[in-house]
Symmetry: C2
Subunit: 128 residues, 2 copies
């Protein structure tokens, strides 16, 4: 498989796949013409990575998860710990965004949004 095929099948842009090779997440072989030659196992890995990234795991987390996936001796507790920590971070991020949203929604609600200059949004930003 060339990179285009793998890109279509995994849903990852070719650029991303090259980047993943750069940082050592996949190591495709090379054809005589210099093209990357992906095996099924490479495609499988890339699909795995794509799904992990979709769940918001960092590249380093993905590296860890891949290593655990390939390690028959792993303990599921290790995987769960990584996932739980990520979950906590997501919860924190959501809480932060919701706080922003609440403040902002209130301000937007209070702003007339007409042709006059008076604006509670700017007043709030100016005054704290």
């Amino acid at each position: 498989m060339n990179i285009g095929d793998v890109s279509r099948r995994s849903g990852l842009p070719a650029k991303t796949i090259r980047y993943y090779e750069d940082i050592g997440l996949v190591t495709p072989q090379r054809s005589e013409n210099g093209y990357r030659a992906f095996r099924d196992s490479d495609l499988h890995k890339l699909a795995f990575l794509g799904r992990a990234r979709t769940l918001g795991f960092s590249i380093e987390d993905c590296r860890t998860l891949m290593a655990l996936y390939e390690d028959g001796e792993r303990e599921s507790a290790q995987v769960k710990a990584v996932a739980q920590q990520h979950l906590d971070e997501i919860d924190a991020k959501i809480a932060q965004l919701e706080s922003m949203r609440d403040t902002l929604a209130h301000l937007v609600h209070c702003c007339a949004g007409d042709s006059r200059p008076d604006c509670p949004i700017l007043s709030d930003l100016a005054a704290g």
Copy 2:
């Protein structure tokens, strides 16, 4: 005021204040010794920027909001439009994170987290 004073009063790191000068958000004067000399109006601007950033506005949005704030001829509709768009983006981000959280929470819940290798988290990532 030197940058340290402004930093303490605005809550912004000195590094950030220098960066804001770099990109033209504030233009403090200079003392004879080369130190930045901030006026009250500069401090006020920086506090404004700090609060806007706290609400998650991008630097470019902040630039726009500052310009509107300083424009006596502004229409509140312009401000509201910027804020509403940002609010929409926040809502989208929250929705995305919640989707991640739901999937992830389910997987974490299903994972035994013990010393055995079987793990539904890895199975899900591997199989889609």
